[in-house]
């Protein structure tokens, strides 16, 4: 693996599109070659910036309307303790059985109680 090969493969590498041995060869080169490490860092940062800047907070009202649409399609979708302001994904399975994952997901949404 030389620097030219690194440049040619870096995107496939970051996309997870390389075979295992090639992936390892690229990792090894990045670790051993400071200039390529800089380039690798740039591309990683670039993706993070694009992903962060293009993220969207789902407005609470939109979330509510989507849940309401699901309830209209199937009344069984209604959780046992569903009430207006609590209408969000975590509530749909009822308060006793909420999983920690969903709890975390719901609390991670800053607009959940807006």
């Amino acid at each position: 693996m030389d620097c030219d090969q690194l440049v040619a493969l870096i995107h496939h590498y970051l996309d997870g599109g390389l075979s295992q041995w090639r992936h390892r060869a690229v990792t090894k080169h990045i670790v051993e070659c400071p200039p390529c490490a800089v380039e690798h860092r740039f591309h990683v940062h670039y993706r993070q910036v694009v992903a962060t800047k293009c993220s969207e907070e789902v407005p609470f009202i939109v979330r509510s309307r989507i849940c309401e649409a699901l309830i209209s399609a199937d009344p069984a979708f209604r959780g046992p303790e569903l009430r207006g302001s609590e209408l969000r994904s975590a509530d749909l399975r009822g308060s006793e059985s909420r999983s920690p994952e969903l709890r975390r997901d719901a609390s991670g949404e800053t607009d959940a109680n807006a």
Binding site: P34, E39, F42, H43, Y46, V49, C54, V58, R93, E101
Partner: protein, 206 residues
């Protein structure tokens, strides 16, 4: 009908990502909401046919994409025709001066990127031809594999890779144009666009 609790558990956490993708595809909040709502309704109806262990996130994005193509886009008279070969070679990293810029402690590239407002990055992404846009969203933002993207878009893996590659170049060139126009990056053409100094020249070896 699907088990409501399981569906809520598995599908609802993906709403933010689906909504963001829908915003980039439809360009407006009302259509994005409709698209996401329709996606969830279809997913819920089809949930019984969904086997646990298969990729629910990819399945949701496939429904989103199909719904977009079949309902939303069908209404638009503008059939997006792009010359898929007409994408100039571009690398933001090279254009920013690559390693030389870092070594010379000029504006770090990361600052240029960070300085572009969210709305401009969104607009740049939305300006990409639809085929490229979806591929870039699925790869760079949602981090699906080539194989998953091929399944979502229903195209061969080679096509997926080509769309991602070209979409990325286009997006980077548009971000660069914005950075130059707004003084975030110097408006100078680098002497050697696609070359960088050999390893060791700038850093003094390692």
């Amino acid at each position: 009908m699907a088990d409501p609790a399981t569906f809520a558990d598995l599908a609802m956490p993906h709403m933010s990502g689906l909504y963001a993708a829908a915003m980039r595809m439809t360009h407006n909040p009302a259509d994005a909401e409709d698209l996401v709502q329709e996606t969830y309704l279809r997913a819920y109806r089809g949930f019984e046919g969904f086997h646990e262990g298969t990729n629910l996130k990819a399945w949701l994005y496939k429904i989103l994409t199909n719904t977009f193509i079949n309902t939303y886009r069908a209404k638009k008279r503008r059939p997006e025709q792009v010359d898929l070969d007409d994408v100039p070679d571009f690398s933001l990293y090279r254009r920013m001066g690559g390693l030389e810029a870092v070594a010379a402690a000029r504006t770090p590239e990361t600052e240029v990127l960070d300085g572009i407002p969210d709305a401009e990055v969104k607009a740049a992404l939305e300006s990409l031809p639809e085929q490229f846009r979806m591929a870039v969203i699925l790869c760079d933002i949602e981090q699906f594999s080539y194989k998953e993207i091929a399944a979502i878009l229903d195209v061969p893996i080679g096509t997926v890779m080509s769309r991602i590659h070209r979409g990325r170049k286009l997006l980077q060139s548009r971000l660069w144009d914005y950075a130059v126009e707004h003084g975030l990056a110097p408006a100078v053409e680098p002497a050697e666009e696609e070359d960088r100094p050999p390893a060791g020249v700038v850093t003094g070896g390692h």
